[in-house]
Structure formats: structure tokens, C-alpha cells
Amino acid sequence: MIEQFFPNVNWDTMFEATYETVYMTAISVAITAVLGILLGLLLFLTSKGNIWENRGVYAITSVLVNIFRSIPFIILIVLLIPFTRFLLDTIRGANAALPALIIGAAPFYARMVEIALREIDKGVIEAARSMGASMTTIIFKVLLAESKPALVSGITVTAIALVGYTAMAGVIGAGGLGNLAFLDGFQRSRDDVTLAATIIILLIVFVIQFIGDFFTNRLDKR
């Protein structure tokens, strides 16, 4: 029956493209999470009234984050071609999409991290300081621990955005479902290929959302 609805779909190619999309998403989400949390912490801690208050550092970080967050992703990919070539010696394949994916998503997530950290009651940070907590303890056991649900729901939203980015990255030759839908589906007018790729992308998004919601709810003890 599947053959009937999707006559032109080569399931081996479809499977390979799915794998590439999942691969690009997973790696970029992992690196984005780390970079985003670091940048978010830097933004939070150097902002006004916080422990490392520093107007200069905050302003520079903030401007950079805003710039990379504002550039439309499709343009960012093109702009980053020299950088990617320098880094990986190629601009084709799933790995070549990673720098653009991460640079596009990390600032986006950094802002969400900053907002999540701002939600923490200042009194709790003060309490930790009053107990003699070091900066490391405050970061890991107070800031990150207390904002866990927001950090997880933030990375869920970011991961879903990244699935969309991978599809765009496909257009410039990164592979994956976006690439397949565009080249095999759109350009050859095989609507069933486009449809199948879309359905798989939707499934990936649903799974990410489900996992994200599950952990957010479990972590939230408020």
C-alpha cells in the first residue's frame, strides 16, 4: 500500500537522509546546548546587578548574540562558507552544515538561558552566598540546578528550530531530508518524495517535543 501512495520514494535513500538529518540535529543540539549555556551564563552574570557585573563584556556579548541571532539562516550559511572550508576543508556533507547550525542556534539558545537564569529568585543566590558558596558551586548547584526545567524546555524549542535549519542546510548540499525533498522531490516534481520527507520531519519534531516535555515536567518541582 505504501508503494501505491509513494511510487517514487526510494526508501533506502529516504532512510539515509533521515539518518543525516538526525545526525546533524543531534550533534548541533549537543554543541549548541553547551555553547548556549556558557554564553547565557556570561550574559546573566555580567548583566546589571549580578555577581560579575561588567558593562563592557555584557555589551559585546549581547551585540554578538543579537547579530548572529538576527541573520536569516540561509544567508548565514552562505556567509560562513569560507569559515567552514577553512575548518573542515569542504563545504559538502552533513558535517559541513554543523558550523552554521551551531553558530545560528547557540545565540538563540543563549538568550533563552539568560531568561531562564533571570527567573531564579535573587534571594536564593544571596542565600547560597551567605552560606559561603564559591562561584562554581553557585553556577552548578544553584543557577543551573534551579533553572533546569527552563533550560530543558529551551533546548527543546532550539532543537526543533535546528531540525528546520538542517532542512535549509540541505539546499546547499548538506544532505538530509531537506536536501532530498528539494532535489529529489521539488526539482524533479515528485510530490510524493516531498510529502514523505515532510512526514518524517514532522515525526522527528513530535518526538523531540515529547521527550522535552517529559523531562521538563519531571524536573519541575515548583
Partner: protein
């Protein structure tokens, strides 16, 4: 135990600088419950934060248990803070941790080993009366229970000083009393020095030995709680004392009486300590040919003894009433004749 010398704190604001604490000098003795009372913005919050270095004085020194809090390195300060605990108005618990994990937090900071930590936490849960709630999250607790967790957490590293930042201001009167009793109990059992700030005279009356009254960054009055109740000097102190001794309606009742009765005198008697237990009224009625009408009376207990106020309306011949007042003055009670003005 604690010595604050000429401490001053300036905050820079958009409209110039603001003096939160203005040349305060204080000495707090070991094992004492010391209260600081003032309205919001009086600088008491800044003052108490100088004791654990959350705020550093712009000038002057703060010495707690032989350590100059205002001048040590940040590493030493963190170490010192483990022995100067603090509890807060809004409890400031980590909501992602259970009661047990919250109490364990300061022990983790101090680098205490896991076994020792678990034992200590169980002891503390018992001490503050939270048996069976160890695995609850703060969101599942009432305000009073949250503050008990706060107190247990503050006691985890066997501190020498406990700072209470409006610790009962967010609680209902009944819970306030139970938390205050817990603090007195801890003070007696562990010999802990307690410094608390509040805007409620009730709290001072109930548990403090000495009190400092703050206004606009300065300590305007300082002394034994009982003495302050007996003879408040500054107008602001009088207002705070009235919070406890004179309910709102007293004033109205007296005004009403002064208008209705032209004759006689309305007097306010203040009893302190033993004089509160003398059969004063009996003697008064037996010795003088006057009518005594009791308008309102109240006895409050402080940590240094009892303190009472009694409003009487004395009627009779003018010389007789005058003699009665003289008798009262001799009987070592504070007498104040209230007139209509």
C-alpha cells in the same frame, strides 16, 4: 562577639548617593538575642548584611568573632560565612531540592563527607520538628515549615551567629510565635548568638534581650528590651512600643472619656518586673476616698521580665485624687496623667 565600629554604607543612585547606614557602632554579646527594629528603608537590612559580608561598609569596621569581616580576603570570607548563618523573610530555599537536600546544601559547601552529612541532616530535621517531611519539596510545605527548613539549613555547619532577616514577616501570627519559640529554644540549647531585624515590636518583645532602634541609617536608641518598654525616649521608639502595649482602640476610648467626664483624671500606669504583681489597685481604693475605673490593661512578657500598662480613670475630690497619684508615683510604677489636648 560582634563589634561594629563607625560603619557607614553609601549607595550610589541616579539621584546622587544614599546613606543606608550612617555611622553605626554596636557591640553584641555572645549568646545574646539582639534585635534591630526600624521601618523599611531605615537601613537595618544593609546593617545585618554587613555582618556576613553580603554588603561591605564604605567605611568603618565589622568584627565578628575575632574576624574582621569588612577586611578579609574573599576566600576567608567564604570560610567565615559558614559560621555566620542567615535566614530570610522569603526563606530562599532551593525549590529543586527536597527538604533533606536543602539542609544538606551548606554541608556540601563546607565539604563535609556524605555519611556525616546524612547523619547531621537527620538530627537537624528532628531539631526543627520536621520529622517525616524530609523528602518533601519546598512547594509542598507551608510557610512555617519552609522557615523551619531555613533554620535547619542555617544550623547545619554549627554556626556561632544566626542572622535573621525579617524571618517571621511573611508568616501568620500563630506561625510567627512558633518560629520565635524555636529561635529562643535554639539560642538556649546551642548558646547561639542571634541578631534579628524586624519591623514588628512584637518580635522584639517576645525574644530579644536587647534592641537597637534604627531610623534613617542611624541607631537612635539602644538598650535592654524591658528598659526600652519602660522608658522609650525617642518618638519613633514610643511608636514601636505602642504597637505592643496600646491597641488602637485605647486611644479612642480615652479620648471619649476625656470628653464625657469633666472631673477626675485619666492616668496611664506602667509596671515593670515585680511591681507588675503588687496589689496596687486594692491599696489605692482602700487608702483613698476615690472611685477607680479600669479602662484598659495589658501585661506583656519580655525576655527580661514582665511589662504591663494600665489605664485608670480616677474620680473624687481633687486633693484626694492628687494624693492618689502621688501614692502611685511612689509605688515605683511609671505614671502618666493623660490630658485632653
Amino acid at each position: 562577639m560582634i563589634t561594629i565600629s563607625n560603619a557607614k554604607k553609601l549607595f550610589k543612585t541616579k539621584n546622587g548617593s544614599l546613606t543606608a547606614v550612617d555611622d553605626v557602632s554596636l557591640t553584641i554579646k555572645e549568646g545574646e538575642i539582639f534585635g534591630v527594629i526600624g521601618y523599611s528603608g531605615a537601613g537595618k537590612s544593609t546593617l545585618i548584611r554587613m555582618l556576613n559580608g553580603l554588603e561591605l561598609p564604605t567605611s568603618g569596621t565589622v568584627d565578628v568573632n575575632g574576624k574582621v569581616i569588612s577586611g578579609i580576603s574573599s576566600g576567608e570570607l567564604r570560610k567565615a560565612r559558614q559560621k555566620i548563618s542567615m535566614i530570610f523573610q522569603h526563606f530562599n530555599l532551593l525549590w529543586s531540592r527536597t527538604v533533606r537536600e536543602n539542609i544538606s546544601f551548606p554541608l556540601e559547601i563546607a565539604g563535609v563527607r556524605k555519611n556525616t552529612r546524612e547523619k547531621k541532616v537527620e538530627e537537624l530535621i528532628k531539631l526543627v520538628g520536621l520529622d517525616g517531611r524530609g523528602d518533601a519539596y519546598p512547594s509542598q510545605l507551608s510557610g512555617g515549615q519552609k522557615q523551619r527548613v531555613g533554620i535547619a539549613r542555617a544550623l547545619a555547619n554549627d554556626p556561632e551567629v544566626l542572622l535573621c532577616d525579617e524571618a517571621t514577616s511573611a508568616l501568620d501570627p500563630q506561625t510567627t510565635d512558633s518560629i520565635l519559640e524555636l529561635l529562643v529554644d535554639i539560642n538556649k540549647r546551642l548558646g547561639l548568638t542571634i541578631v534579628l531585624i524586624t519591623h514588628e515590636m512584637h518580635v522584639i518583645r517576645k525574644i530579644c534581650h536587647r534592641v537597637a532602634v534604627m531610623e534613617e541609617g542611624r541607631v537612635v536608641e539602644l538598650g535592654n528590651v524591658l528598659d526600652i518598654f519602660k522608658q522609650p525616649k525617642e518618638p519613633i521608639t514610643k511608636r514601636f512600643v505602642q504597637q505592643v502595649t496600646e491597641p488602637e482602640e485605647t486611644k479612642e476610648t480615652i479620648e471619649h472619656l476625656l470628653n464625657d467626664y469633666e472631673d477626675g483624671l485619666v492616668v496611664k500606669l506602667a509596671f515593670v518586673g515585680e511591681s507588675a504583681e503588687q496589689p496596687l489597685i486594692t491599696t489605692l481604693i482602700r487608702s483613698f476616698n476615690i472611685n477607680v475605673n479600669i479602662l484598659q490593661g495589658k501585661i506583656s512578657h519580655t525576655q527580661n521580665g514582665a511589662y504591663g500598662t494600665l489605664f485608670l480613670h480616677l474620680r473624687g475630690d481633687v486633693p484626694e485624687v492628687k494624693q492618689a497619684v502621688e501614692y502611685l508615683e511612689k509605688a515605683s510604677v511609671g505614671v502618666e496623667v493623660i490630658t485632653n489636648d
